[in-house]
């Protein structure tokens, strides 16, 4: 994805992570800005299904040719699925960060945490 984009239906963590929330379930990934800053992603280390993630804490790492970066959980919960396709083809995180480049699905333990995340406009303000 060559052009910056921050979909309106997502919620954003200031550490450049997104969450797509559907009731008590959420999907996490990294933002366009994060993948652009990293450059060519060559390594995504999927965490274990069943592992607990804690809001504001790292739950995995992604690595580009240049650098490694922790991925921060935007919300707390338990991992119910990981993106094996992004393990095999980590470039999906660059080409489709909000779609095929998703990282984990999580059953949320405290959906009220959602209130602290940013909407698309607020996140874009943060980047400016």
């Amino acid at each position: 994805m060559a052009e910056a984009s921050y979909p309106e239906d997502l919620r954003y963590h200031p550490e450049h992570d997104w969450a797509r929330v559907d009731g008590e379930e959420a999907t996490f990934g990294i933002t366009w800005y994060a993948q652009d800053s990293l450059g060519d992603v060559v390594f995504f280390d999927p965490p274990e299904v069943g592992a607990t993630v804690t809001k504001d804490e790292p739950y995995t790492e992604v690595e580009s040719v240049k650098a490694v970066s922790d991925v921060i959980a935007p919300l707390s919960g338990e991992i119910t699925a990981v993106n094996e396709a992004a393990d095999t083809n980590p470039e999906l995180i660059n080409t489709d960060p909000y779609g095929e480049g998703w990282m984990v699905k999580v059953k949320l333990s405290d959906p009220s945490e959602l209130d602290s995340l940013l909407d698309s406009a607020a996140y874009r303000d943060l980047l400016d």
């Binding site: 450059g39 060519d40 060559v42 390594f43 690595e63 580009s64 040719v65 240049k66 490694v68 400016d128």
Partner: protein, 363 residues
């Protein structure tokens, strides 16, 4: 997000901005780390032709009746072997043999020498040159600010430059003065990628016009990111990472460019290291499985500390993690299995012979 900065800019700065470069601080300069992306730029150099702005590198001119005698004392290689139009690699050593910098020197047609230094070391190299120059009939001049420098590298690099050149390009490890894009340049058959190609040293003001003509000829602009992955695949040293004042050329694997019989400054210490051997050696390695080594990662042998990674990256050509690091000398043999502690995860690695990738053997 523009902030006031003390960083220096090369004469190609506007070209980088126009090409969409991501600029980062590097050795006091604001330099492009990438344009389209490291992997694409790396591939351009391995498969076609790429160009790098290396104007941040320093140039030192040495001239006068004692120029040869002085350089023979200053740098580690046998400068007397250098013929007019030739190029030579050497180390600049401290008296204790520690590596202050690695240099390329060229003997020009007028009998003077041009020496190219690393940006981070240029000022201290000059100070070392001037310290050694006392007593020699020699003029050491800092000519870095006057010059731009563009490295054009890759299997199609020579053809791209030749199309803009007024005369035949110099052979590998040779240099010639000719016009490129109508501007007088010193063209050198050297580089830092393992590929064929040239480095063009020109007046700083002429660099943008040359850059634009190379761009029009289809040469891909490449940043420091690709420069690092390319040089590490062919195991070229990066001063400050793979060697420094705390390492001598023998343990760094640079004994081949040290000719102690010339009596260069530091030669006694280098001769001693060569005779006695060193506790550690710089070795290259690969991680065939998961994991990408990075500078600073501990190297282990059977779980015990055995060294430290000095350069590490993902190799775009090989598709695996690669690196170099200092290990106990008894472990520095190709085929030896070691482990790399990559942020707490121990990854199996294997020492390999250098280079890790040989562009001259590509299919």
């Amino acid at each position: 997000m523009d902030e006031p900065t003390d960083l220096r800019r090369t004469s190609l700065y506007d070209e980088h901005v126009a090409a969409g470069a991501r600029l980062v601080p590097f050795a006091g300069w604001e330099m492009p780390v990438q344009y389209e992306g490291v992997a694409a730029e790396h591939e351009a150099v391995r498969e076609r032709a790429g160009m790098f702005d290396v104007s941040h590198m320093g140039q030192i001119s040495t001239s006068g009746p004692d120029a040869l005698a002085f350089l023979q004392r200053a740098v580690s290689n046998d400068v007397a072997k250098l013929e007019p139009g030739g190029a030579q690699y050497s180390c600049l050593c401290a008296d204790d043999g520690g590596i202050l910098d690695d240099l390329f020197s060229y003997l020009l047609g007028d009998g003077s020498y041009l020496t190219v230094s690393n940006a981070a070391n240029h000022e201290s190299d000059l100070a070392r040159f001037r310290e050694i120059a006392a007593g020699f009939g020699v003029e050491v001049a800092d000519i870095a600010a006057d010059h731009g420098m563009i490295a054009v590298q890759g299997p199609e690099a020579r053809a791209a430059v030749a199309g803009l050149a007024s005369a035949e390009l110099p052979a590998r490890m040779h240099t010639a003065t000719l016009e490129v894009a109508g501007r007088e340049c010193l063209v050198c058959g050297t580089g830092y990628t393992g590929e064929d190609g040239v480095e063009i040293i020109c007046a700083a003001d002429d660099a943008p016009a040359i850059w634009r003509e190379l761009l029009a000829a289809g040469v891909t602009p490449c940043g420091l990111g690709a420069r690092d992955t390319l040089r590490l695949e062919v195991c070229f040293h990066l001063h400050g990472n793979d060697m420094g004042p705390d390492r001598n050329p023998i343990e760094a694997g640079l004994g081949w460019c040290c000719k102690e019989e010339t009596g260069f400054a530091g030669s006694e210490a280098v001769a001693r290291a060569r005779a006695e051997g060193t506790a550690e050696k710089l070795a290259a390695f690969v991680i065939e499985g998961r994991g990408i080594p990075r500078a600073g990662n501990p190297i282990l042998s059977a779980g015990e500390p055995a060294g430290t990674v000095t350069s590490g990256t993902f190799s775009p050509t090989l598709g695996i993690g690669i690196g170099m690091g200092y290990v106990r000398s008894d472990l520095a043999e190709p085929g030896r299995e070691i482990e790399i502690d990559v942020r707490g995860r121990v990854r199996e690695a294997e020492i390999r012979s250098k280079p890790l990738y040989d562009p001259t053997k590509k299919s």
